[in-house]
Symmetry: C2
Subunit: 106 residues, 2 copies
Amino acid sequence: MPRQRDRVGWAEPALLILASLADGPKHGYAIIKDVEEDTSIRLGPGTLYAAISRLEESGLVAALEGDERRRPYRLTTEGETVLDDRLRAMARFARVGLSRLGVAGA
Amino acid sequence: MPRQRDRVGWAEPALLILASLADGPKHGYAIIKDVEEDTSIRLGPGTLYAAISRLEESGLVAALEGDERRRPYRLTTEGETVLDDRLRAMARFARVGLSRLGVAGA
DNA sequence: TGCGACTAGTACGTTACACGATATAGCGTC
DNA sequence: GACGCTATATCGTGTAACGTACTAGTCGCA
């Protein structure tokens, strides 16, 4: 299925995952719940686990030991750095954009 | 070519374009320059014009009359609404994420 | 103790779209 | 009149976003 992007998204799955893990280690299913709770974005399993694999591959998250049912992941130091960087860029961008829209206090 | 997403992006072309237009109407090439200037993200022509077409199709931007060399676009009211909504979500997300990372003042 | 609901992850197929390359063309200038 | 910049269009490719379907463990609960 397509990315349901007829309506302009604002955050990529990879970033949502990193941000969720900033809270502490979580396994996949818990990330789905967490992300949905605080962004209303529902990641499908296909999206999630594929994104996690890529993040692991590029060293931004690392697998922890878990039982055979749960596979927890944690942010690596590099993952934290990347997340911090991206969030700052987002914050700056949002601030500038909102002020351009004439939003008070932005 | 792939989306150069080995390094986790934070903003989608469509949103960058909307934000750039929040400043006032611009034509494509000017958007490229503008976006690059304030995000360091360089949109290729393929990315840009394709994204603009989609945005126009979904009624978030509208073409203005220009000469035959320049095709300026403006934000529609719906485009403004969508942009405002996404930017607020981004700002909230960034704030929460940064505070999770223990960034002071977030 | 068998059923449903929830948890957890796998596997897969489709397709949107990010991206660079390439092409075209007007304009200034040197 | 060649070079560099502005400006847009188009095409091909690969990645990854996304939903669906599936498997399997666990926990009531009746």
